[in-house]
């Protein structure tokens, strides 16, 4: 039997003005288990807390009920005071008689009655309270960043800056991501490589950062503070430690007909290659699908020319295991495949390109060395048509497109249009738009400059179809403001394709037990207040994997994400919320209902031995909750058909007792 003390707060006149506090103290004093009941002017004040502590000492209280303001206000205060007297802090319950009683009811009799009932409910709950211990778990002081684009690089640099180790796992041979492929950036028009490559070098040289390029995450085990990750280091057939990145092998390689993915397949590379000049790590990689030596055993030229002796045709994939305290998903995006859009002729007309392809066509390191030439005949285009929202803002059920706005297309199209008009003033540029969305610092000014200074023709309407018409493209479009249908003979058509999360994101999310939305974007813990954390503890989100973003937004989110990661790594031990779910193994029937509803992947199943009748042993599959991962929502407790799952601090019995007390 508990020995409960009840303390009623006047809160000046806030409570005492409408609640007869003396009557409440009197009434609650007669409740079963209550050995002490009093009222005081301000319970939260220093003297109020002293009063409570004295009563705990003198009356040997085991539980405390404070009838005062909302527990959201002073629950922590009273718990702390109680724990100073050696009572478990979770033996304190608050009856909210200010926000829920005195402030909303005017009639004293009515308010007093309600205060007594709420007090009774709290007493009933305290009777069933159990002392709870907040668990602790150690923290591995190293972070993993999955994805080496600008988001991953920035997060890694910021974490390393704070003095913690970071690993970057990048699936392609170099870090840099999509930003490395861009020509210029809006709205300042500075060159992407000029601002990105120094960061790549910083990441490569930082002694706290270890880059696993050409590697993939294969399995993730563990929980916040203690993740164990298997990383597959794919065979490059080049020893990373020996290769100097001189590039001689890439020049001498006889296999020259490999589509160059860095230039969106618009030119070719060799079978042994370095993706681009500023690659980090600057190491050659052999493409096993095209290398003659690996396919037929005949060639070996790269090995012969390599002065460092770095070529190793026998290299195998290697799986390494590393421990981390926190994991950052920075898996990024890809443009959608425009081939499905027959009406725009992307698959059939070579002069219909996507915006990312145009970036490469305009880049000095691109297939045309920076001169804008159309792919079909390398002629300079005189009329360029941009089509916006290709695959963005479609219906949920659309098979080709995405329901969301891709956010970056309006601005990069304005950038492209502006750059073309600046470099080639003889070119007519048309942009077909549904809406021009420019929320961002200096964004609308930028778009207006494209129209007003550079004379880009913005037309409210959509392109209906693009067909090859001799050497040109016939673009049929609507001009909604003029109420016309336009037929434009264009030399180049650029599709502002929607962006989608990288295809690998889904499998990574599954490994991380991080949740995703229907579009495969990672879900944040709270859409407004916790935007860089996944609901799964210890998993953080950086960049476009969480939702469409431009570069400045990505970088700010990446830094915010790093701050959150540092918050975890800086702790020696993580304290867990003790109000977590707990499974009674004797009742559990191993049905997995709880596992399915758990949003955090905190529940796992294992086979356990139990004593059966007649000295037999039974093996049953039972659930167990990892208290470090469980957040205490209680979804599993309701899903459990056998009543094995319960939530500490809000147990079935406690809530039932409250219901009973209220309905008395």
């Amino acid at each position: 039997m508990q020995r409960i003390g009840v303390f009623i707060c006047h809160c000046g006149t806030n409570i005492a003005g409408t609640v007869d506090v003396k009557a409440v103290a009197e009434a609650l004093g007669h409740e079963a288990g209550v050995v002490f009941s009093t009222e005081y002017q301000y319970m939260c004040s220093e003297s109020g807390q002293q009063l409570m502590r004295k009563a705990i000492r003198e009356h040997k209280l085991t539980g405390v009920v404070v009838c005062s303001c909302s527990p959201r206000m002073h629950e922590a205060t009273f718990r702390k005071a109680a724990s100073l007297e050696g009572i478990n802090p979770y033996m304190v319950e608050i009856a909210n008689i200010r926000e829920h009683v005195s402030w909303i009811h005017k009639d004293m009799k009515e308010a007093t009655e309600k205060a007594i009932i709420l007090g009774r409910a709290a007493i009933a709950k305290v009777h069933l309270n159990q002392p709870l211990q907040a668990g602790e778990s150690p923290v591995t002081k190293r972070a993993l960043v999955i994805g080496g684009g600008i988001a991953g690089i920035q997060t890694a640099l910021d974490i390393a800056e704070a003095g913690f180790e970071v690993d970057i796992v990048e699936k392609s041979p170099t870090i840099g991501g999509k930003m490395a492929q861009l020509d210029k950036t809006f709205p300042t028009l500075d060159c992407a490589a000029c601002i990105l490559t120094p960061k790549m070098v910083d990441a490569g040289q930082n002694e706290k950062i270890k880059i696993f390029a050409y590697s993939e995450v294969e399995a993730v085990k563990g929980y916040v503070g203690n993740f164990n990750v298997s990383i597959r280091r794919k065979a490059r057939y080049v020893d990373e430690t020996k290769c100097t990145g001189c590039g001689l092998c890439t020049e001498k390689c006889p296999q020259k007909k490999v589509p160059n993915e860095f230039n969106m397949g618009m030119n070719n590379r060799h079978a042994i290659y370095i993706p681009f000049a500023q690659a980090v790590p600057k190491v050659a990689t052999i493409d096993a699908d095209y290398c003659m030596m690996l396919k037929t055993g005949k060639c070996g030229i790269c090995s012969k020319v390599c002065g460092a002796g770095a070529i190793d045709y026998k290299q195998q994939d290697e799986v390494i295991e590393r421990q981390y305290g926190a994991i950052v998903a920075a898996t990024g995006f890809n443009p959608i495949d425009a081939k499905a859009y027959n009406e725009y002729g992307y698959a059939t007309c070579p002069d219909v390109v996507t915006s990312l392809e145009l970036e490469r066509l305009m880049n000095a390191a691109g297939p045309t060395n920076g001169t804008l030439l159309r792919p079909s005949d390398n002629e300079h285009p005189h009329t360029v048509v941009f089509v916006q929202c290709v695959g963005s803002r479609c219906t949920e059920t659309d098979e080709r497109g995405k329901p969301y706005c891709s956010k970056i297309c309006c601005m990069y199209t304005a950038k492209h249009a502006m750059l073309i008009r600046e470099k080639y003033p003889d070119t007519d540029v048309y942009v077909f738009y549904i809406d021009v969305r420019t929320p961002g610092k200096n964004f609308d000014e930028f778009y207006r400059r494209a129209v007003e200074q550079y004379g880009v023709h913005y037309i409210k309407g959509m392109v209906g179809k693009v067909t090859q018409n001799g050497k040109q493209l016939r673009v049929q479009a609507s001009d909604l403001l003029a109420g016309e249908q336009l037929h434009i003979d264009a030399d180049l058509v650029v599709l502002a394709t929607a962006i989608e999360p990288d295809k690998t994101a889904r499998s990574i999310a599954t490994m991380l037990t991080a949740s995703m939305d229907t579009n495969d974007f990672f879900t944040e813990a709270h859409p407004k207040l916790r935007p860089v954390e996944s609901p799964t503890a210890g998993i953080f989100l950086s960049g476009v994997c969480q939702g469409p973003k431009d570069i400045p937004e990505t970088v700010s989110q990446a830094s915010a994400c790093a701050a959150k990661v540092i918050g975890v790594l800086a702790k020696d031990k993580l304290t867990c919320n003790p109000c977590v779910a707990q499974s009674d193994e004797m009742l559990c029937n191993g049905c997995s209902s709880c596992e399915k509803v758990c949003p955090y992947g905190a529940i796992s199943y294992s086979d356990k031995e139990f004593r059966g009748p007649n000295r037999t042993t039974l093996i049953r599959r039972v659930a167990s909750v990892n208290p470090a991962v469980c957040q205490g929502c209680g979804a599993c407790t309701v899903a459990c058909p056998s009543g094995a799952m319960d939530l500490k601090g809000f147990s079935n019995k406690q809530i039932m007792a409250e219901v009973d007390a209220i309905c008395q």
């Binding site: 803002r393 219906t395 497109g401 959509m462 209906g464 479009a477 609507s478």
Partner: protein, 129 residues
Amino acid sequence: MSHSNNATEQVLRSSGVDVRKCMRCGKCTATCPAFDEMEYHPHQFVYMVEKGEIEKLAASPSIYKCLSCFACVDRCPRGVEPAKVVEAVRLAVIRQQGQNHMKSDDIPALLDEDMPQQLLVSAMRKYSK
């Protein structure tokens, strides 16, 4: 500005189209092969039905110029199906003329130089049940 009336409701019901899904991109009109013939264009049909301006549409020859080729339906990124709206307006007009059910014998009498043949096909599809 909304004139919610019986005619509008009838058009909305018989077409089964939710005109509020339209995001006014104009791809239907951009894609329409009968654009030059039409007074009101596919996107205007959707917009004017939303505003309840059925009378204007009903009085316009546009309803007979639509080829019912369904290009607009195919291309619409929001799944609005403008051709169905056009057809519903057309249907409302025909029904008002007391020709609720069209018989194949009636077709020659209705034939007119300007009427595209696919309209007949479309009409048959709709009435022959």
